[in-house]
């Protein structure tokens, strides 16, 4: 976020590669960004975390958003998840314009359609793994059984542990279980392996890829690790607040094959 100001001029050099919408997506269009800007004003300074972003994401895709620190990828993710609002432009989700939503409508959108996996897991420390997942029942009808969701991520034996009693990988898997328990149409992951070692990270990636491949969920993952580009159906590269390129992978690698 802090490196933004000095590189303002480079925004114009963006090279747009392969924006052809028809060539990539397997399913129908789930998300569409139209000239989306996110502007921050601090006193007299203003800067764009995201400027004139245009992109589409198809249902069931595994999308990786790649970019260095401060490029605007987290902003992109926040806007996708309805966790922040755009300064201008339109964000369409299944045809509905998120930018026109009220706060309450946006909350409902998050509750019903979006699952989030955070870099630092963000579990509620005073609740057990099971309870953290069961929490979702409070906000959405028709969530999966917490025990099943936890079994899906391989945590059937650790259900009643508190976050502080679990390893990082286990916590992240709990966090994924919490996200998928809602059966969201969109699963957003913010550097999900950022705090994990390679081995555990690979397990988590595998889990996410399975979500997309087997359960046909749309998974959007933000990372600065370019090795992950190999496993995605679509790779969106972000730089200096703009979309640098969108590349479709015809034959994505299996998550278990990735090393970094």
């Amino acid at each position: 976020m802090f490196g933004k100001k000095k590189e303002q001029s480079e925004a114009e050099d963006l090279e747009i590669i392969d924006l052809d919408e028809e060539s990539g997506g397997a399913g129908k269009v789930l998300i569409e960004f139209k000239d989306v800007c996110k502007k921050y004003v601090q006193g007299e300074h203003e800067f764009y975390a995201l400027k004139d972003a245009n992109l589409t994401i198809n249902e069931g895709e595994m999308v990786v958003i790649l970019g260095p620190s401060g490029a605007g990828k987290s902003t992109l993710l926040n806007l996708l998840g309805g966790m922040d609002s755009a300064s201008s432009g339109h964000i369409l989700f299944d045809g509905d314009d998120l930018t026109e939503y009220t706060d309450n409508r946006l909350t409902k959108y998050r509750a019903e359609n979006v699952g989030v996996v955070f870099q630092f897991y963000n579990l509620i420390p005073t609740l057990t793994a099971y309870e953290n997942v069961a929490l979702m029942k409070d906000i959405k009808n028709g969530t999966s059984d917490p025990a099943e969701a936890l079994a899906d991520v391989g945590l059937a034996d650790h259900m009643h542990q508190f976050p502080s009693q679990m390893s990082g990988g286990e916590q992240q898997r709990t966090s994924i279980a919490r996200a998928i328990a809602k059966n969201p149409r969109l699963l957003l992951c913010d550097e999900p392996t950022g705090a994990l070692d390679t081995e555990t990270g690979r397990d988590v990636l595998k889990l996410l890829q399975d979500m997309s491949r087997k359960k046909k969920r749309t998974v959007v993952m933000v990372t600065h690790n370019s090795f992950f580009a190999d496993i995605a159906d679509t790779v969106i590269r972000v730089k200096n607040g703009g979309i640098q390129s969108v590349v479709h992978n015809d034959e994505p690698k299996d998550a278990s094959e990735v090393t970094w």
């Binding site: 987290s74 966790m83 909350t107």
Partner: protein
């Protein structure tokens, strides 16, 4: 699930929530305790007055007959009138107890409440005695009771043990201001028992007015009509508010309720401060969790409700249990002490709507306060809340820019910055210390003031060691002889009624003869000489009448129809007797006869003297002081409450504060440790700040304590003119006590410095 989260969060921050619980508990305990006590006492008295038909208007004077009853009955609004003869006498067999003897016919007004024996009947033989007096003196139904009125003895069989609604509080001449119902009794007899019943002359008319007319405006209009109907200068028409028994009890009840509110406000204010700081810290600490919940799709309302439920649950638990415990314990305790002072049956606590409203309001305010403190974390979109908060904008204070700053050592600089940047926390610390010091000063100050009062009454204003009270049948000759024999000073104390444009009050006139045992002091308590040619009025009486030196006051002796219009030559202060003082010569110039009622002397008095018919009692200073101290039990109870409250308050607030600031400072302290500061030095730094705040808190608390004591002293009663006195030892104990509480609580926390694990504390912030 959120409920489980709340439960576990409460457990995790239990010290702070326990302190909030305790503060709201104590606040409501004191408030509801005192309020239900005063409400219960008020309600018990009201029920008693209603059931036994307490008189609405008294007409005092001499020589009332049945004609007068007819005159009074003709006044519209008056439903019933009865006549009585009230005399004072002594019961020699019972330690010369002072007796109010009531001769009456029918007993429809001020009816007697029967404990034992047979109900009173007109024309019946026998005597009905007051219950406390009978019980403590071991008098039983069927005993023969002898009362001496002047020189006449009346023997009667005890027929009943009773209480009367017009005598819930009464004192004898010799009780300074607190009643002693073992030595002061009530006797009720039929007029037919009066020795010369054919020529009985009644001195009181009891007037009952129609029900529903008993509000002040109606009563005073009826009073005016009665005064007109009688058109006599020698009668006094008074209502309940001017009646000693009714007014004293009423004032006592009101005072308790005022004290209760004062205490409760202090506690609840601090409980709320505790909630603000604690909730602000809890929500700030859970910022990421709040962000997560928002991102997961929890609505603002759900999250808000979740966090305000912390404040709600704790304060509701505290307030409700506090209210309940207060109601269950305080009324029995305080009303238990009442029983020696006020003869009201069925004294018990009563929950009022105010108690319930206050409890609900306290809970509501606590909930609101927790809402306000978590609102900050809720207003941003989740993307912002998920990130750690932006560092506080810190500006350099003026002090930090000045050159002086550079001369300060690191600890001072660090602490000044810490205090300035955590103003709320520092303020709360100061307030906690202040409350502690204030209550201690006020509590011990009450003792000082009472001691000061006694010292003044029996050491400076009245310097005789014995007071011989003469009975009504002692002639002047006897008094002079006695005075000569004991080298004493004669004084006359008599009841007086004062009238100014603003008020009508009754008080005492003290007329002094030659001698040197009676002294007066001016408003600033400097000894002054009594004006030789005029009258001096007490400060309290002058204040009540809204008069000052140089003004004129209208007054007359009770039972004498001659009114005086006299200039107040001097204002003096007297702690316990309100009215006027003058020299005998001034009194005689007004063409009154000087009839001594007591002899003051410094010589030892033969105990057998009190057996003489002409002497009613001999009191020595030690007796007077002891009986006075004994009757200050109620005040002592207040003091205990205050001292216990002070220490609790100090410990709870400072402990809470300690937890708060310690958690907040953990990282800073760990950094200092990494930099090579040893634990001892860090502890000194932390303790230093605590000492500053404590010193400020004590300084403010001393003043606040004095103010609170002043309020208590000036409102304590109409007849007491107490001066707030705070002695050296009180200052010392209060300051040391507060310091001890503050420093030892802080010591517990600074002791934890050693246990902070540098690595753990400095590991990444999530």
């Amino acid at each position: 699930m959120l409920f489980r989260k709340m439960r576990r969060d409460l457990m995790k921050n239990k010290t702070q929530f326990i302190s909030i619980f305790l503060m709201s508990f104590l606040g409501m305990l004191v408030f509801v305790g005192m309020d239900s006590e005063s409400a219960g006492a008020g309600a018990a008295a009201a029920a008693y007055y209603k059931q036994y038909n307490l008189c609405d208007i008294w007409i005092a004077g001499a020589g009332f007959s049945d004609d007068d009853i007819r005159t009074a009955k003709k006044v519209s609004g008056v439903t019933d009138v009865e006549k009585r003869l009230v005399l004072t006498g002594t019961a020699e067999k019972y330690d010369n107890a002072y007796m109010y003897v009531n001769f009456m016919d029918t007993n429809r007004i001020n009816s007697l409440m029967l404990y034992d024996g047979v109900p009173y009947e007109a024309e019946a033989d026998g005597v009905w005695l007051e219950e406390w007096f009978a019980r403590t003196n071991g008098i039983k139904i069927g005993d023969t009771f002898t009362v001496k009125i002047d020189s006449t003895k009346i023997d009667a069989t005890v027929k009943g043990i009773v209480d009367a609604p017009d005598y819930v509080y009464f004192v004898s001449e010799s009780d300074v201001m607190y009643p002693n119902y073992k030595k002061t009794g009530l006797a009720f007899m039929s007029s037919s028992m009066f020795p010369d019943s054919a020529h009985i002359v009644y001195n009181q008319l009891l007037v009952d007015v129609r029900d529903g007319l008993d509000d002040d405006a109606h009563i005073s209009s009826i009073k005016e009509k009665l005064e007109k109907a009688f058109d006599r200068e020698d009668i006094a028409v008074t209502d309940r508010n001017q009646n000693l028994s009714y007014a004293t009890f009423d004032a006592e009840v009101k005072q308790h309720s005022a004290m209760g509110i004062m205490f409760a406000v202090v506690f609840l204010a601090i409980a709320l401060l505790g909630i603000v700081t604690t909730m602000a810290r809890v929500t700030a600490g859970q910022r990421t969790q709040i962000g997560t919940m928002k991102a997961l799709g929890f609505s603002k309302t759900t999250i808000t409700l979740h966090y305000i439920s912390y404040g709600f649950v704790i304060s509701a638990m505290g307030c409700i249990t506090g209210a309940w415990v207060g109601y269950a314990t305080m009324p029995p305790w305080i009303l238990g002490m009442f029983t020696g002072s006020y003869l009201v049956p069925d004294l018990k606590g009563k929950i009022t709507t105010l108690d319930i409203t206050a409890t609900l309001i306290a809970i509501a305010v606590a909930t609101l306060v927790s809402f306000l403190s978590c609102r900050k974390e809720l207003k941003d979109p989740p993307a912002i809340t998920l990130k750690p908060p932006a560092p506080k904008k810190i500006r350099h204070s003026g002090l930090e820019k000045s050159r002086l700053w550079l001369c300060l050592d690191f600890a001072t600089q660090w602490n000044i910055r810490d205090v300035l940047r955590n103003k709320m926390r520092s303020l709360m610390g100061i307030l906690g210390v202040m409350g502690c010091a204030m209550l201690l000063i006020c509590g011990f100050g009450c003792f000082d003031s009472i001691n000061g009062l006694m010292g003044k009454m029996y050491g400076e204003l009245m310097t005789a060691s014995n007071k011989i009270l003469l009975s009504a049948d002692a002639g002047s000759g006897y008094a002079y002889d006695l005075s000569e024999k004991y080298r004493g000073q004669l004084i006359m104390e008599t009841s007086v009624e004062f009238v100014s444009e603003k008020a009508k009050k009754s008080g005492t006139a003290t007329i002094i003869d030659k001698g040197n045992f009676v002294h007066i002091q001016d408003r600033d308590l400097n000894p002054v000489k009594l004006d030789k040619g005029g009258i001096a009025m007490t400060n309290k009486m002058a204040t009540l009448l809204e008069l000052d030196e140089g003004d004129f006051v209208k007054w007359h002796l009770v039972g004498d129809d001659k009114w005086q219009y006299t200039r107040i030559a001097q204002i003096y202060r007297d702690p316990s007797i309100q009215g006027i003082t003058m020299y005998r010569s001034v009194f005689e110039d007004m063409e009154y006869k000087f009839r001594p009622t007591a002899v003051l002397t410094n010589m030892s008095v033969d105990p057998s003297l009190s057996d003489a018919d002409e002497v009613s009692t001999v009191m020595n200073v030690a007796d007077m002081k002891a009986s006075f101290a004994e009757t200050m039990e109620m005040m002592n109870a207040m003091v205990y409450i205050m001292v216990v409250a002070a220490v609790l308050l100090g410990v709870v607030v400072l402990y809470n504060l300690g937890v708060l600031s310690f958690v907040e400072k953990t990282r800073e302290v760990a950094t200092l440790k990494v930099l090579g500061f040893n634990s001892g030095r860090i502890r000194n730094i932390l303790q230093k700040q605590n000492i500053w705040l404590t010193v400020i808190g004590i300084a403010v608390g001393l003043y606040a304590g004095w103010a609170m004591l002043y309020v208590i002293c000036t409102t304590v009663s109409e007849t007491l003119d107490m001066y707030p006195i705070i002695s050296g030892p009180t200052y010392a104990y209060s300051i040391l006590g507060t310091f001890l509480v503050s420093v030892s609580v802080n010591f517990m926390f600074s002791g934890k410095v050693r246990t902070i694990d540098m690595v753990d504390a400095l590991k990444g912030v999530e």
